[in-house]
């Protein structure tokens, strides 16, 4: 009898696990042309494989702003005047429709190119769309964040939730049928925490939530990104810096082409040319862009909280003040430095201590494991060659999400989001 039960359990387990397998897209049938993850991350999809999208002028949209932290009007220096209010972009349909919130990735504003792309995609499919800045974005930190020290996902989600509520309050006449939520990269992690918060606050009752290329372990992701600027790049020497190297290549590329033409296909075309960048150079380029985000975050957080790590607390700043010396100091600080010098001390002070490991556990997807496992409304799309993942991360996603996880074989970090196969799947998820 006992043996029979054991067998039954085993069988049940097998059947259950079989039914909850992630959807793995087969590389051969996927048809995405960029097999190099770094190239995909930088150039994204070649233009003729992207979905057809409406023009900006055919979209009924406007930028609106919210005053969420009126005290910042007085606390922030004069040259922050443009970010004392939080701006968002709203695109509306002229009939009752579901509304989808889009959360941008690390350091990105509401109008980042990926957010714009997602807006067009969902707007075309009949949604009202609200584009929001990332909690790590300069404007969000200044205008909407209570502690202006992004990185503690739960606190970021609280800030984000308030923003969403304020957006709804500012558009009371908009006929919304249902609320949906999506985000890419760090924005996907934020979306997961916002969805979790919404289970208790119940302001929106999100019907479906889609996470696009989220970091699983936030610390792995930032370590990977910090590491990208440590690649050994050929061609750098005492007289040529990395930027000069890339700009020289770009100059030669245009000279060979005969004229300067900036368009969507430029990066793709450039990589097909003789001047193309190597893996290490591309990694360095991606790493550089993230280091600038890290510098912005470190500077802004330090300034708003008057920590004195980068800007002396009483240093007078007017519109004419040169910020270059502070940029010089801030750019020495990578994500790891920001976490160690600013996030951990604040988090310890607020929550009574804890180690880095505990922080990592709290701010990563691990913290929501049970919730994500049991919420059929949340799905994930990720890539097998995403640079922000580490070993074991996909395994965690497979165990947690089961068949609500789709793994694409290619695409790097968010490079395939504008591939037609992906855009169809993204629309299909919300439609179904």
């Amino acid at each position: 009898m006992l043996r029979f039960l054991r067998f039954a359990a085993l069988f049940g387990g097998l059947i259950l696990s079989a039914s909850a397998l992630a959807v793995d897209i087969d590389a051969a049938s996927y048809g995405y042309p960029l097999t190099n993850p770094f190239e995909a991350t930088i150039a994204t999809t070649p233009p003729d494989l992207r979905p057809t999208l409406p023009l900006d002028e055919d979209i009924n949209q406007k930028d609106r702003s919210l005053t969420l932290r009126p005290e910042r009007e007085f606390e922030l220096p004069d040259n922050f005047w443009a970010v004392k209010k939080l701006t968002y972009r709203i695109a509306t349909q002229d009939k009752p429709a579901p509304l989808i919130f889009l959360i941008a990735g690390t350091g990105a504003r509401y109008d980042s190119s990926l957010n714009e792309y997602l807006k067009k995609l969902y707007y075309q499919a009949g949604y009202h769309v609200v584009q929001l800045s990332s909690p790590t974005s300069f404007d969000f930190m200044s205008a909407a964040s209570r502690f202006a020290t992004p990185g503690v996902s739960k606190e970021d989600a609280e800030d984000m939730y308030r923003v969403m509520q304020a957006v709804r309050a500012q558009n009371p006449k908009l006929p919304v049928t249902d609320y949906y939520l999506t985000g890419y990269s760090l924005g996907a992690l934020d979306a997961a925490f916002v969805a979790h918060l919404d289970e208790t606050r119940r302001s929106f009752n999100f019907k479906k939530v889609l996470l696009l290329n989220p970091p699983v372990n936030l610390y792995t992701s930032i370590t990977n990104l910090d590491k990208l600027v440590q690649t050994e790049v050929k061609g750098i020497n005492s007289s040529t810096t990395f930027y000069e190297l890339v700009l020289n290549k770009l100059t030669r590329y245009f000279q060979q082409k005969g004229y300067i033409d900036l368009n969507d296909a430029l990066l793709y075309d450039f990589q097909q040319s003789k001047q193309h960048l190597t893996n290490e150079q591309m990694a360095m380029l991606i790493g550089t862009s993230f280091r600038f985000s890290a510098a912005d975050i470190a500077f802004t957080s330090d300034l708003i909280n008057r920590r004195g790590l980068i800007t002396p607390p009483k240093f007078p700043i007017t519109e004419g003040t040169s910020l270059t010396p502070f940029l010089r100091r801030a750019l020495q600080c990578d994500f790891d430095c920001y976490i160690t010098e600013q996030v951990i001390p604040m988090w310890r002070a607020r929550t009574d201590g804890g180690s880095l490991l505990q922080l990592v556990d709290q701010v990563s997807l691990y913290a929501l494991k049970d919730y994500l496992h049991d919420s059929p409304k949340i799905a994930v799309m990720h890539n097998a060659d995403d640079v922000i993942l580490g070993p074991g991360d996909l395994g965690f996603l497979r165990k947690t999400f089961g068949d609500r996880l789709t793994v694409y074989p290619l695409g790097g970090h968010c490079g395939n989001l504008n591939y037609r196969v992906n855009s169809d799947a993204m629309l299909e998820f919300f439609r179904g």
Binding site: L228, E232, D261, D296, L327
Partner: protein, 262 residues
């Protein structure tokens, strides 16, 4: 003979393969989760302590900018002007005009702009480009009805900008101090003088009689300004950084270098 050539070719190829110090050609190892570990494809510096990002960025930050305080104030003025006046006007313009009319206006002013483009291509002795720009002017002014259409681009003759600042740069004149011009935005001493020269030349040539008409009708200038803003994609705040001024300064300086070299 052929055998030797083959051998040499093989040796050369091997040399290239050896010189490639990256692991780009290493096979992708997929772990049991299906993860391809992209970072394993990269060759890292062993100590993970290189400061190339810092070195590059610090050297990129040294742009000659003696008027920085003034420039930053003008930058903020432009930012406000853009948000409170310029962009709302452009939005209104987009609202009241159908898109084909806007394209016509842009084409018309771009056709006028081809005059200084031609002059400066000639001054830089760029034969091919001068021919192409002349062909553009001829085609667009005749078939394109005074430039309202742009058949030249459709025929594979894209617009190629050349201004007097570029001509000066072509002959080795350095950029000089960085300058933020009210409303017009980032520039430097060389390019500002270039701008003045281009305006004078345009006035002297008086192509299609536009320069003469617009001296009596300032609204032509206003329309031209609105059209220019409509064609310019840059938005203040778009770089989304407290250091936007520094970044724009770097990008402007490098973009001009690139335009001059090309």
């Amino acid at each position: 003979m052929a055998k030797y050539l083959l051998l040499i070719a093989a040796l050369l190829c091997a040399g290239v393969a050896n010189a490639d110090n990256s692991k780009a050609n290493a096979p992708v190892v997929v772990d049991s989760d299906g993860f391809k570990e992209p970072l394993s494809k990269l060759k890292f510096n062993p100590g993970l302590d290189q400061r190339e990002f810092e070195r590059s960025t610090l050297s990129a930050l040294s742009v000659y900018d003696p008027l920085e305080e003034w420039n930053r104030r003008v930058y903020h003025f432009n930012y406000r002007f853009d948000q409170w006046v310029f962009l709302p006007v452009v939005d209104g313009y987009r609202y009241v005009t159908p898109s084909f009319l806007r394209t016509g206006v842009s084409n018309f002013f771009n056709n006028l702009g081809d005059v200084p483009n031609l002059v400066n291509s000639l001054l830089q002795l760029k034969g091919k480009r001068s021919m192409e720009t002349s062909a553009r002017l001829l085609l667009n002014t005749t078939i394109g009805i005074a430039g309202l259409w742009d058949p030249a681009t459709a025929m594979g003759l894209p617009r190629q900008n050349e201004d007097f600042g570029q001509t000066l740069g072509f002959y080795g004149v350095p950029g000089g101090a960085y300058l933020v011009l009210p409303i017009l935005g980032p520039s430097n001493l060389r390019d500002t003088s270039g701008l003045a020269v281009d305006f004078t030349v345009e006035d002297a040539i008086n192509y299609l009689n536009v320069a003469e008409v617009s001296s009596n009708h300032p609204e032509v200038w206003i329309l031209r300004g609105i059209d220019k803003r409509n064609q310019t994609n840059f938005r203040y705040g778009q770089l989304n950084s407290p250091f936007e001024y520094d970044k724009v300064r770097f990008v402007y300086t490098e973009a001009r270098k690139l335009q001059i070299a090309e």
